[in-house]
Symmetry: T
Subunit: 169 residues, 12 copies
């Protein structure tokens, strides 16, 4: 069972342009996770109320998870010979997740989380598609993270439904 010309996959010189494209996609994913960490810290501390408590605890747990996502994206960038960007390249995008006027405005936060997760799901879906057949390692890692985000979004959609049902949202 001798290999003729061993396959190098994504590291093959023929795949250079593709690898740089994947790195760029991963850098964007990295910043999405970092911003989510910021937004969730703020929301998990700012909100007031008994029902908010459930949301706050849920977000507080997610901080660790999102940070670990960020680290995994960062390590993959490195493995693909890219550079993890510095803080000056950060640009906030989650206008919908800034602290609300009233800290009891839970619906504002729930909507913001759904918005953010939807953005992540779409971007990660694209990474999965772009890496198909050329970089199975990035693809497999991204699918696992994608699963986490789909679960988060579904949970917060459920939260929203209660408020819609009560006629508040």
């Amino acid at each position: 069972m001798e290999a003729s010309a061993p396959s190098k996959g994504i590291f093959d010189s023929a795949n250079l342009e593709k690898r740089e494209q994947v790195v760029a996609l991963l850098q964007r994913a990295y910043w999405m996770e970092i911003e989510t960490v910021m937004s969730y810290i703020a929301a998990s501390v700012n909100l007031d109320g008994v029902r908010a408590q459930e949301i706050k605890e849920s977000l507080a747990e997610d901080i660790e998870e999102e940070l670990s996502h960020a680290k995994r994206f960062a390590e993959r960038i490195k493995e693909l010979y890219g550079v993890v960007p510095g803080s000056q390249e950060f640009a906030a995008e989650q206008s919908y997740l800034q602290p609300p006027e009233e800290q009891t405005d839970i619906v504002h936060v729930i909507r913001g989380v759904i918005h953010a997760e939807t953005g992540a799901i779409e971007h990660y879906t694209r990474i999965v598609e772009e890496t198909d057949g050329v970089d199975p390692v990035t693809q497999d890692m991204t699918i696992a993270i994608l699963h986490d985000e789909q679960g988060h979004r579904r949970l917060f959609e459920g939260f929203l439904r209660e408020y819609e049902f009560e006629g508040i949202a």
Copy 2:
């Protein structure tokens, strides 16, 4: 032993202006820690080399610690009736901790860490002074964080000395 007019400390209406000033100082401290988290993730992944490995592991451990500092500042802001700011208020300041040209340039990172820690030490020293006698809780919490930062800086100063000794830095 009944108290005549019970002391309310920092929550006393007479201390309103002071409390708002403390909140502002804490918000700045919060952003310093958040940016440090970003910078340390990037550096702990980007650097190359055997000696860099020691630095990378040191920074990787600090990420958790700095994040917990950020959370404690955030919670104190809330306790003082302030609002933890959202991601759009973030403005990068650590120009000296952006990824270097060469990922083997350890001295660049060491100098950047010392720079960042010195900034934090000076700001937290000011918080300790400003809260003296009016908000012992904020003061006590900040002293503990200040101790961590002093220890980090001293460690990296030691790292720098080796390179200076070898004539590299």
Copy 3:
């Protein structure tokens, strides 16, 4: 690197029928795991004998694993906007895994387990095929579960071979 029309994957409205099909497949997988939990509890308690002890311990450990499979299928159903079915929709299928006449009849149980695992392997293989390219998250989760079931079947096939070798089975 902005995306023109972001891909929504399985959540795309164009994929509605496919998603409903996947939900139906997952509901069936859910019931297969639930029935296996029942069958393994019964077998892990009913069997008598020293050699049976090995089987019993193996099955008792699997109960937790199969239950966790059931939960993961249930959660995925929810994420895909389906509903986890109630107990009235349960219909037993594992006629080959009912308690034997003699509780020392280990071969009966071994054969039943192989039968059940084969059914699961075929059904999960189909899910893997149906989700290929449209729902990588369901596919990836199912592959992991499929691996567990292939391992179980192989183990019990080995058990069976000993009895066949001894002329008992």
Copy 4:
């Protein structure tokens, strides 16, 4: 202090009929717990909403507890020389715990849980009475499980009261 004719308790041949009756009661208890496991998995995944989250977490924890009840009933059946029944003997009884029309209908689930627990409490109370004086081991084990169920029911009755108070239930 030698015993004249040693007491064999429930294993005495004179108690054969009683033992078979106890086994039948335990088999019914076994199925009640198994069905509860199914119902709680479904409810703990299906429900939507912030308040539902509290219910879901409570039920998710109970799944493990109810499964361990089922196992203990199964083992006791075996110790009394009975046979744990197979999946084909399962017949659903909890019509009141099927998934509701709307997944935000928490009151439906709360009422269902109270209904199910009440059934279990009455059946286990009967086991306690039937085994009194003849099978203290079964009795003691069942009292402990009965305590768990009384606690669950009381908790959900409290949940219901809130909704009644708000005029929703």
Copy 5:
């Protein structure tokens, strides 16, 4: 660097009266914590309802924390050569935290907790002021406990705001 006349701090005979005053303040603090333990046990068990569940769990966790506060005050009394008082010296003060008429009356409990925490915060603030410069150990220990109480109060004020917002409280 020999000390001329070594400082004994709070143990100096010149500080005898001050030490006795501090002991008296600590004894009062001790009873406040003990009564809080009683009140929180009752409330954490008595309340009914889904939203109450969040409050109950929060209070149940606090029981351990408040008990440890009581122990630390007791040990400090001993270290300052005072005597921890016996149960006959207990006199209830938290009239506002007695069980409400209706066990679904969450607002009653929330208001009671805020009332109790406010009393503790004012008393501990006084201890911090009285010990300033003469007994830094008592001061430091009390600041840490004061931080806990400020955090609790802030949390329950947030709970109250939700009900005020809904027009219930």
Copy 6:
């Protein structure tokens, strides 16, 4: 094997008066445990001496145990539809366990503990008798607690014997 009229045990309306009587007994048991917590904290801190150290450690461990007894009585009161009483209903009874004149007076404390445990044993024995045949759950729980108290008393009786032997007590 269907039950004609299912037994509701202690929850049967025919047992209403009995249930109220049991609740009253449990409320008294609850206060006994709470007062014991207070007395043991004080004694475990106040006593002086090497031999006292053994007593202090023993009592310090018991604090957690007695507190958990109190919680279990409280939860059972709730399950029986009673209300856990508030701090204003507390009335000290353990005059024999107040701090002694001399904090080295170990015998005073040992006698006090035996006195308190004897009171608890007699009261819990009564609960066991009163609940016999009507509320096996309360009975079973109380027997377990009773066992703990019998063990404590026996231990302290042994302590006392040493002092009697030495002619001190």
Copy 7:
């Protein structure tokens, strides 16, 4: 709700003879457990063979359990004012559990274990009956131990059945 003449249960002077009888029963139970420890150590080490391995592991785990039974009986003897007997009062009774001629003779050991467990079950059943209504603490503790022994016996009866089935036993 004051008690007229408080019940002392088994410690009542009227129950002195009964208490001494219970102590004697417990001392016998204590020796049964101690001898079982000896027999199980020997058997768990002496046996040879693959199938024996299952038995050896089962017995090796039971050593800890049986030793803990012995300790609980010993402590209960003490609580009832009896004395745990010394090694000179030990007299071997398990002639059927002595090491077999051949260390591969598993059936000999299985039969011996069943014999020993049956003896224990009958003796503990008697303790349960003798303590009924007068010493619920001893009764409750013994029922729990009795459950363990019934489970052990059932397991080894299952082992025996396999060998009977194969025509070896």
Copy 8:
């Protein structure tokens, strides 16, 4: 939703030749991991020096990881009805990872590790390609292992760069 002719995937008789090919590829992967274990043990013990310490610790940790890779390949061979080869079939290939002349020659070891990891990456990339669409379980397992090896290689490439930068390598 019944399946017409259930898919058997890699176990389908039509896929026999493919399965044998996969087994052969896995056997080679197995030996690569086993040899790596040998090479890393030797290197992790033999190297001398402060900087070597970092390498040694990194390799020492990898031993466990590589051994677990070997076990997973072995188990997969079994699941595909192959046989894990015996020690006589081992043939060393890592001539570049034999102990260097001087035990301070770190660069020799770094280069050897990169060489070995590159071989593994190419071979595992081929397995991923060969199993695509026919054996998703083997593919998924191999992608996870491939990720580990890519990470190792990237780390050691970074080590090499430092030495190249210093002009040593």
Copy 9:
């Protein structure tokens, strides 16, 4: 470096008599440990008093240790092709460690423990001497156990000295 006639050590047929002698010595050691377990259980439960508490706790911890010694002797007997003796071969020797008249007679127990440990030390010293040069494995294991016993004896000699000092012993 090939061996001419490989050394079999204690398993050499020339060493048969020696091996049987070692087995006999180990069997005696085994019984000494078993009897010590009995004596320590009894003493650790029977003794009364505060100072006794220290002794009781010390002995209670030793029970586990002595039992593990017994198991290690038993396993070594097996490894040397001997048989662990059954309970009928047990003969009590520790007449000096039977329960004293008065359960406060600590000196009796201390003297008994010293007596027992001295016997063990002398016997194990002999094993160490007998196995020197022929069975290093038994020797090494016995030295480790001998160390434990020397430590125990020294501790109890210290206990005795206090009582001698006080003129009680």
Copy 10:
């Protein structure tokens, strides 16, 4: 909120002399802790007797604590740019804690411990005073250690009182 001239606290060049003075005080504190470690090891091993056992265990636990104090003083010396002194600078001061004539002379050790703790308390009180307002980090760390030492002294004063009460000390 920009700072005019940022405060550097103890690191300010204007505070150089003060910093050197603090370093000298910390070096002395460091040696006090190191000598205490030596004295406590010796005492925790040398003492004989049952009551001594309580003292020995207390000291054995303190060894770890005192060592950690020493390390914290050492690290603070480093952070303030001082040098931790070498073993040749050690000079014994605890003449009162040398091993007594008789190893049962507990009172000698108790008095020695009180003497040593008093010295530490006075020295650390001075550090707290000297650092007030200029080095809050050293102050805060020293207050925490001071608390530990106050607690130790109080405990041993209690031990001494028992002996005084008995007329031995």
Copy 11:
């Protein structure tokens, strides 16, 4: 007590030849353990059958143990200034432990294990003898490993006896 000419033991220049001889013996021991690791991985995965399961689990546990033996031999080689050999020096010797024709042929594996363990026991016995009096550290370490191997062999001899008894082996 000054030493005249300090003993350097095995590191003495006079012992150079002996040290090299010991290193050679250790290198051979190292390879024996490495090959055993390979053989046990293969056997623990390849075997089929219920009884084989016991063997497989036993071998699977031993893999970790044998690997740790190999590491300890490797580290000792280094400490004695030898070099741990590379993979090219490996030569398989365990022809008797290659995978059997039939994977249900347990007796083949059992015999192979006994063969391998016997070889190890003889070689390690020689190391113990060769190092006697000159290198006690190597001797002590090897005795501990020798004990493990004697235990393994004895266990598998017991397994073999069962099969001989049944007339299969």
Copy 12:
């Protein structure tokens, strides 16, 4: 198999002089370990630099190990009826391990550690020789400690070689 005149080993009165000699050797060993603790604390804190970090971490871990060596020597002194010496008997010997002029002078520390370990190895080798045949317990314990020290020395010799190779040392 009764012993005529039981061997007392090192405790035999005929071995008194030898025992006192062993105690003296152990006292010296005790002080060597204590001084090493001091030296390693200082070095682990004082050193500066990235490579120093590896050394510092290595020494910081060793502090615990060396302290445990000291404790074991102390306990053995006690078991042999000696007295652990007090702090006034300490005399520093490690002139070669005092803090260097420059805190980046790693080679100074490495040489000092090798020097100290060599002294310990020679002294412990002597203890092993002196105790041969008369005190196997001390011998066995010392061999284990000797192994640790040989390993440390070898590690630091490796560190030194790197610097020699680079021409720095």
